[in-house]
């Protein structure tokens, strides 16, 4: 995973609340056994017509969305299934961060493990972002702040361990494997067999 310290990019605004992972990537694309190329199916049923052609009025298909790598969505993003294909599809499409007032727990966890930054902001900052699609914003991991073009900075929650992993490109598995001694000590105190 590449380290992320600062992200400065323009936003694309998806004005929909409660976006679920079935919308981010419909289940029929989950039979894949690899994770590459999922960006082509991101928001498939909103993005393409039944003829398979891109719908001109969908936000990601508009010319001004080109090059925007921060997705600002309505309230409560990423609810529903635990499919990691959702952050994979967003990241594969080119998104580096998702901003909402609330982000579902499993989706948020999955995003952090794939270098997609889940950014939860207060309703006021969110409201400003929703009204200013294409705004150039800055996400600073060190201070966990989102800075609007107005100069106003708001903090977003990011637990220290997740911040450390993102900023240093450390993956959690490496961290866990480094705890071999503690894991072994715990296992020695427990019965070895299947659930008692």
């Amino acid at each position: 995973m590449d380290p992320i310290k600062t992200l400065r990019a323009r936003t694309v605004v998806l004005p929909v609340s409660d976006v679920d992972t079935d919308q981010i990537i419909p289940a029929r694309f989950l039979t894949t056994t690899t994770r590459s190329g999922l960006g082509a199916h991101l928001f498939a049923d909103w993005r393409y017509g039944s003829d398979g052609e891109p719908k001109a009025d969908f936000v990601l298909n508009r010319p001004e969305a080109k090059g925007c790598t921060i997705l600002v969505a309505g309230n409560n993003f990423g609810c529903g299934s635990s499919r990691e294909h959702a952050p994979w599809a967003l990241a594969d499409y080119g998104f580096r961060a998702v901003v909402s007032t609330q982000i579902a727990d499993i989706f948020r966890n999955n995003s952090l493990k794939n270098g997609l930054l889940p950014v939860i902001v207060d309703p006021a900052a969110h409201g400003w972002l929703m009204e200013h699609p294409g705004a150039q914003i800055t996400l600073e991991l060190e201070t966990s702040t989102l800075t609007l073009p107005t100069g106003q900075a708001v903090r977003f929650p990011l637990e220290p361990f997740a911040r450390y992993c993102l900023m240093n490109g450390v993956d959690e598995l490496g961290f866990l494997l480094g705890r071999e001694q503690q894991i072994r000590a715990f296992e020695e105190r427990r019965p070895a067999g299947p659930p008692a």
Binding site: T31, G80, E84, A104, L173
Partner: protein
Amino acid sequence: MLRERGLPVRRPQLTFATMDHSTPTRTEQVFGGAPITIEAAARQVRELEVNCADFGVELLGLRHARRGIVHIIGPELGLTQPGKTVVCGDSHTSTHGALGALAFGIGTTEVGHVLATQCLLQRKPRTLAINVSGRLAAGVTAKDLILAIIGRIGVAGGTGHVIEYRGETIAALDMDERMTVCNMSIEAGARAGMIAPDETTYAYLAGRPRAPRGEAWEMALEEWRGLATDAGARFDRQTDIDASALEPMVTYGTNPGMVIPVSGTIPQRPGDAAFAKSLAYMGFEPGRPVAEQPVDVVFVGSCTNGRLSDLRAAAALLRGRKVAPGVQMLVVPGSQEVKREAEAEGLHRVFLEAGAQWRESGCSMCLGMNGDLVAKGQYAVSTSNRNFEGRQGVGARTLLASPLTAAASAVRGRLTDPRELM
């Protein structure tokens, strides 16, 4: 991930695999020579077989007698036990909390972490108590209760929390009903939902194939009896629900929080564009009674309502009746064991004589990735857990309800309060 790093599965004896999402439910495709029609699904099934063999993980494969939806077979086999931590790459893992386990869904990367290290890094969640009192009326089920709870607290109401369902109504539920309630915790945004283990739990587990026996059972019981939340414990949040006031519930929109009694009318929210978009997808108008909506498909099954008692409830309503002309009804047991038990009671004959289809176990029509689909624009009364746009097929319109409401709607050919037929 394991192969890339040359890692084994750390505790294969604590790891179990089955296949449910992408498996077909037609008998000829499961046991006959007919191939799985979706090539990618067939590949996924083969890959799981190879991976389990390579890494020494027990697999209840496609033709295994105890195969089924993971959240049905975990408890059924006695693998799920009070006090255990249970994780699976599926959000409805919350189901297992009904046995007093801490159970939650994780993504693929975290599944890899568990396989490699038997560990997961976690933050302590907040706690939400849902206190339920009063008796559920006849015809009102555990499904109606959890739909009402989601309607009350909203689809993000439990985000960041683990729910404990408590109170006399919960204590009076049987295990199948408790699993239905905990199953849909995630639809309220909570990764996990739990119910304190009690005599009902122990009676359910006793004698199951993977439950402890003899002296080990006695030791386990002693441990389990100490697990319940202390009297006077403080929760971060609490909500009280009066179950006696509930009616059969149904969803009318495109998330599970958009729910009303079957006797209700579609709400009006002038100026709410998202609400209007949702109703447009569903083809519904505000202010209209939701009952009487003609239905095309009825699905009884899924990890929410695919257990024996769910099939019994649907069969009781269908006995001596017919599925209305033009309605396709699928009854899909949650596991092969549920299927055998249902057949031993003759439930399959009730379904078949009524004109419904009787299938092999799997996730089936709950999500459109195994060939069982609702067609564009069609209305499905479904006992599953998600009514998201396109969940059951592109353009499909899902009405989530109980097995009783589903069966009653199949008979009448339109959304029907089951109490009219009881």
